[in-house]
């Protein structure tokens, strides 16, 4: 799908409503190709299972999201495992975190008899990383990993405590010797306070560490015992570091045995995050899981971005039924009847379904397509006129191999009507020879003569309602009422049915000077 079509169909607005909690945030929505129809159908089956379970167990969504939210993207760590490298301590914690929340999710899924993702066995690995049976995602290099390490840590702890005690005693001794209330390891004395300076300089407890033009800084003198213990502490630190590296190497080796399972868990949890996000999207926006078929049939289809926009003004969107059995389908209707909206709705729904996303319909049967193309979006190339852009785009799509969905909005409206009409009809006839499903909206009469095409018309406004609208006092009132009187539903019409003509009436409702309308009508009558 090109950028123009993606923008024209307002797909970004819809996709932002699918809100994964953690791992799924990296997910890129990509349509399944027609060769993978079975895969997509299987995926939709899983989505249906999840939706059923969410319906049965109202707590399930909170239970799953409560775990999923804690997951982090640990792709780099998993890549490191593939290369059998030694993990850093924080990477081990990341793996423990993944396992901890995975096992919780596994329990929830099993309790709800939901088999929608693969659930590898990794309980032993978690136990190995949770040596002290804390049953938490917190990790530390436990002394259970090595007797030598345990001994070193114990000695380090004892030395640290002893050192703290000796330092405390040293300060107490200094305080007592100097008649101080409480001694601090470092003290600062004014240069003018000769008496204190002399006292501290001559004391056994402190030594002059630094002096400046304002003050003298004294530091507590360490006893032999303290110095000795500090040395021991340093030696122990070096030994502990060496041993901790060995432990990390050992842990990394054990984890690397589970490399495949961990990769599976990571990708399966990403899928689960996406499945839950799509299920929540489905529930929030009253969507359905579509069926993948050859033809397109949508019951009560809605254009979500338009629905959200209208709801801001408390206007309800009218859902439409769309049933397309032919290869080429032509839609006509008056101005403002919603032809473009129908095209966009079809495009949005087919795209969502092709990406494995529930669609805003009551029921949807639709095909898996190789591409989606929308022609007529006025954001075309700057170097070309609107007509030229359309021609370039149509030419590209005509040469596109495979079966796609081609949505054409008022092709050739930007050139002279006579040539445009002929051109439009011919292009649609060419599409009859192609594999794609084509839906075209037009005001031209000639395409209505294409026999092999299906012809639809948007019902629009009944003739007697136009008169009611014209009587309303101002433009705002007329616009508001126009929406109420408009029937956006599609009806199939016979070949050769001329497109409805109501441009002048609509222009009059929109406030164009009646004299202009009258002159235009006179011109038409003369013709």
């Amino acid at each position: 799908m090109n950028k123009n079509t993606f923008e024209a169909l307002n797909l970004a607005d819809i996709l932002t409503e699918i809100k994964p909690l953690s791992l799924g945030k990296q997910w890129q929505h990509r349509p399944y190709s027609p060769q993978h129809k079975q895969k997509l159908q299987n995926y939709f089956e899983k989505l249906k299972l999840l939706l059923n379970s969410l319906e049965k167990n109202p707590q399930l969504s909170t239970q799953l999201s409560g775990q999923l939210v804690h997951l982090n993207n640990i792709k780099n760590t998993l890549n490191k495992l593939e290369k059998i490298q030694i993990l850093q301590v924080f990477e081990v914690q990341e793996i423990k975190n993944l396992l901890y929340f995975y096992l919780k999710i596994k329990k929830i899924l099993q309790k709800n008899k939901l088999s929608i993702i693969q659930l590898p066995k990794v309980e032993k690995l978690f136990s190995f990383l949770d040596k002290e049976d804390q049953n938490s995602p917190v990790f530390h290099l436990s002394n259970c990993y090595s007797a030598k390490y345990a001994k070193l840590l114990q000695e380090y702890e004892q030395t640290t405590k002893k050192l703290a005690q000796l330092r405390k005693e040293n300060l107490q001794k200094a305080a007592s010797q100097l008649n101080m209330t409480k001694a601090e390891p470092q003290i600062v004395v004014s240069r003018l306070d000769k008496k204190q300076i002399e006292k501290l300089t001559n004391s056994e407890s402190y030594y002059l560490e630094a002096e400046n033009f304002a003050n003298y800084t004294f530091q507590i003198r360490k006893t032999e015992a303290i110095l000795e213990l500090e040395n021991i502490q340093n030696t122990l630190q070096t030994a502990i570091e060496k041993e901790s590296s060995k432990i990390l190497e050992k842990i990394s080796k054990v984890i690397s045995v589970y490399e495949e399972e961990l990769s599976t868990i990571f990708s399966e949890l990403t899928k689960l995050d996406m499945l839950l996000a799509k299920a929540e999207f489905c529930r929030k926006h009253n969507c359905c899981v579509p069926n993948i078929t050859r033809k397109l049939s949508l019951k009560q289809a809605r254009n979500l971005p338009l629905e959200w926009e209208l709801s801001k003004n408390n206007i309800a969107l009218q859902p439409v039924d769309i049933n397309l059995q032919n290869k080429v389908n032509i839609i006509t209707g008056t101005n403002m009847a919603g032809k473009t909206t129908v095209l966009k709705t079809i495009g949005q729904i087919v795209y969502l379904a092709n990406c494995g996303i529930p669609v805003p319909c009551q029921k949807a049967d639709l095909p898996l397509v190789e591409f989606i193309f929308f022609s007529g979006y006025q954001q075309s190339r700057m170097d070309l006129s609107s007509f030229a852009s359309e021609v370039v785009e149509i030419n590209e799509v005509l040469s596109e191999p495979g079966s796609g969905l081609v949505l054409i909005d008022e092709f050739a409206r930007g050139t002279n009507p006579e040539e445009g009409e002929a051109f439009s009809k011919t292009v649609l006839e060419v599409f009859l020879e192609k594999e794609s499903l084509v839906v075209a909206a037009t005001h031209f009469s000639a395409p209505a003569q294409i026999k092999k095409a299906a012809h639809f018309r948007i019902k629009g406004i009944k003739a007697d309602n136009y008169a009611k609208l014209q009587q309303l006092p101002n433009l705002q009132n007329r616009l508001a009422e126009l929406h109420k009187f408009m029937d956006y539903s599609l009806k199939q019409v016979a070949v050769d049915s001329p497109p409805p003509k109501a441009a002048l009436i609509i222009a009059e409702i929109l406030g164009i000077d009646r004299k202009i309308i009258k002159k235009a009508k006179d011109f038409l009558n003369d013709k």
Binding site: H70, N72, Q88, V89, F90, Q93, E94, N97, P137, V138, F139, H140, L141, Y149, L153, Y156, E157, T160, A164, L178, N179, M180, T181, K182, A183, E184, Q186, I187, V188, V189, S190, R191, L192, D193, Q196, L200, N212, F213, A214, N215, T217, I240, E241, S244, L248
Partner: protein
């Protein structure tokens, strides 16, 4: 030498102030004021069983990134929660518990939460914005910490202006300037914390005023650039400012402020970014209120200046104590004799 209070008494008073709140916020009058030394001292003396430390940016790095001089490391007692980069976790692996990756970042790098198993000298890192710091504090409290020490900064974007923060530990170091400059700044701060809080505040984030009982939104947030417009509200019963008032704006509106009889309400005292003279003028001529108020729990003085402009420690302590007798002023490196 100040002999009216002995150090154990000071420690007892400080402990009382620390334990009265969930947060202990340290701010310095300037960069290199000595906050890390005070933080280490408070951590050592407060003895919480599960404390946490949060900083603004980096703290405890080997060298000052601007000045290039060496800096003290943060000394965490055992069981202290702290946030850091992953490299710190690797360097201290045997001595810490890794709680996990946090949703916060600093300097475009992910922050991790860990807890020390042994006393640890390390570097800590924290988010730069106030909202993220408070969110991080809540996150750590959820993970089991029971007190948060926040190494903050003193400006209008500081953690000190957050409504949850009610008290500050202020570090007044020689780095800020000479004794007169320090005193002047402390005077200013002291007069800012005097500003009474307004009961039941209900304001949006725009400047607003009340005329004949009706509150009117000005549709702008900043005073700067709108001084002329604001001076037309001389009949307003009150004017509320959510942002800062600077000397530039004040000088343009001096006449207006001197004649205004309504209430002037600011979001926080620290949003009054005025020199001492202008602040005194404003306080003298107007009825000032603030939505959020703040107190100074204690002032720690530091005679050392990394720029070499040291102050006589004895003179510094004595002067500040005599000028601010009602404040708890202490020096962690002071010798006190029985």
């Amino acid at each position: 030498m100040r002999l009216d209070q002995t150090q154990p008494e000071i420690i007892a008073k400080l402990k009382n102030r620390i334990t009265s709140s969930l947060y202990t916020v340290l701010v310095g009058l300037s960069k290199n004021a000595g906050k890390t030394s005070l933080l280490n001292w408070l951590l050592k003396h407060s003895k919480f069983d599960q404390p946490a430390v949060i900083t603004t940016g980096r703290d405890g790095e080997e060298l000052d990134l601007v000045g290039g001089h060496s800096k003290p490391k943060v000394e965490l007692p055992a069981n202290t929660f702290f946030t850091c980069f992953s490299s710190t976790l690797s360097a201290n692996a045997p001595y810490i518990k890794i709680i996990g990756r946090t949703p916060f970042s600093a300097l475009n790098r992910q922050l991790w939460l860990a807890q020390s198993l042994f006393p640890l000298k390390t570097e800590i890192v924290g988010p730069a914005t106030v909202s993220k710091q408070i969110a991080l504090a809540d996150y750590i409290l959820e993970k089991g910490a029971n007190h948060i020490f926040i190494d903050g900064s003193l400006d209008r974007r500081s953690i000190a202006t957050h409504p949850k923060i009610k008290e500050l530990f202020l570090v007044a170091g020689a780095e800020y300037g000479d004794l007169q400059e320090i005193s002047s700044e402390l005077h200013k701060l002291h007069s800012l914390i005097d500003i009474p809080p307004i009961p039941n505040p209900n304001f949006s984030n725009e400047i607003s005023y009340q005329l004949k009982g009706k509150q009117i939104q000005a549709r702008f947030r900043r005073i700067y650039g709108h001084e002329h417009e604001i001076t037309n509200w001389e009949n307003a019963e009150f004017i509320y400012f959510p942002g800062a008032l600077t000397d530039i704006s004040f000088n343009k509106m001096k006449q207006f402020f001197c004649n205004y009889s309504g209430k002037l309400i600011f979001q926080h005292p620290f949003f009054l970014q005025l020199n001492e003279h202008n602040l005194n003028l404003l306080k003298k001529h107007t009825c000032l209120y603030c939505v959020n108020s703040i107190k100074i729990a204690a002032i720690a003085v530091n005679s050392f200046a990394s720029n070499g402009k040291h102050l006589d420690c004895q003179h510094l302590r004595a002067t500040l104590q005599s000028k601010f007798p009602e404040l708890l002023i202490f020096d962690i490196k002071e010798v006190i004799y029985e």
